[in-house]
Symmetry: D2
């Protein structure tokens, strides 16, 4: 299961080296994750309305080519792993067919009231399992 968005780089994202500042790619990843969830049939906003959040517990990035101002980027996100309480999402940032930056984030389902681990809502579990495939276990 994957999703892709297009994104036009504003001046705000650049730094004085003329590249997109390295921390901003984590925002790009989030934009793609949001659409990934939407394409799964529920949004992150809906997940929160059920009292469940999905904070990041780990992130990793490789910068091959730095994006620049006014680039029209494609950002892809894919559910790479799902264990019932954790999910890993792989992301790629591309300019035309060129891979600029890639990475992944790992998230844990959390009860927003208590801050403790939470089971993912059943309806979401089914969809996640379906797309990741039964063989992937964390």
């Amino acid at each position: 299961m994957d999703a892709a968005i297009t994104y036009r780089v504003p001046y705000a994202d650049t730094d004085q080296m003329g590249f997109v500042y390295y921390g901003n790619y984590l925002v790009f990843f989030e934009r793609a994750r949001n659409e990934l969830m939407r394409s799964l049939g529920f949004t992150y906003r809906e997940l929160e309305s059920l009292g469940v959040g999905l904070p990041v517990i780990e992130a990793s990035l490789k910068y091959h080519i730095h994006a620049q101002y006014d680039d029209l980027l494609t950002i892809r996100a894919r559910v790479a792993d799902f264990s019932g309480i954790r999910v890993r999402v792989d992301c790629q940032v591309l300019r035309e067919d060129k891979l600029l930056v890639e990475g992944w984030t790992r998230h844990a389902f959390m009860d927003l009231k208590t801050g403790r681990p939470a089971r993912v809502p059943l309806i979401m579990q089914e969809k996640l399992r379906q797309f990741v495939g039964a063989e992937t276990k964390e």
Copy 2:
């Protein structure tokens, strides 16, 4: 009543023109406002714990000289006006004695649960009135 902080500009704040991106000065203003409240004897965090927030309803900025990477800035904030339900804070960004950017923000006290206007807690009112002076009315 005023407060001042010093702030070292990171690469993150710059854009490809080599200046601090124009939206980041509103973050600078906030950093100084936070210390202004702390110097008044209560923090914004404490205000929120009483169920009251202070969202911005208006902002204005004049950019005279643009700050640059690694500049050590001084950011000043001053309560300029207080009416019981609204407060205006004036801010200045300086590099040594040079005024780079100035502006102000206007805020309304808001009940965080209902989203409706709220009276500022009495203890805060007294301190605000004391510093603004009896003559300033919005």
Copy 3:
């Protein structure tokens, strides 16, 4: 002359009050200005390639309703004034038909090498004058 973009609010733009952080609207304004220039027939990137930049010298914002996570916003930009060396752009942020935030920015054409005021390239002047109308003078 005006342009409009749509923009999906990421988590990154929000703050703990659950609203879009007030400084981020200046990034929204920039996103719309970029498309405004593109719709004028040249991009800001092209302007810079001619050695001319357009830094902000003044900004003003009014916050009526705060945008929230996952909102699909429309951001409009319009050339409101043009004097040959300065330009003012008016911006609006809407959710469906509701006006959330409005404001404007004033910019000065600047020689990127010297940092001094620059005349806007002729081809751009003509287009700007055409859209603003002959009667508007700064």
Copy 4:
């Protein structure tokens, strides 16, 4: 060789979950790296004035506890590895004695004009080697 800074979390850094947004820690890392270089006796600004930049090629983060608004954080940076053309810096974000987030970034020295790999200036090499120790090779 290591350096540490203190940093007060502004509202700008938070998101609607009430935590510091996960991408902002990369800005925290940068703030500490800047002071690390300053403590080595030359600043990143000076490195750039020699025509050499130090863009990030890889980053990794582990989020144990999320920082919150108004937290007074300590951010530590340490040169972990240096190979003559690449350097790895380890970073930690702490609140009092508690480790909140840790990670590292890997950087490559780059000629700012050509965008190609560059040798680090000799004076900087010596200091880096001295602190990392002769035994660490990438």
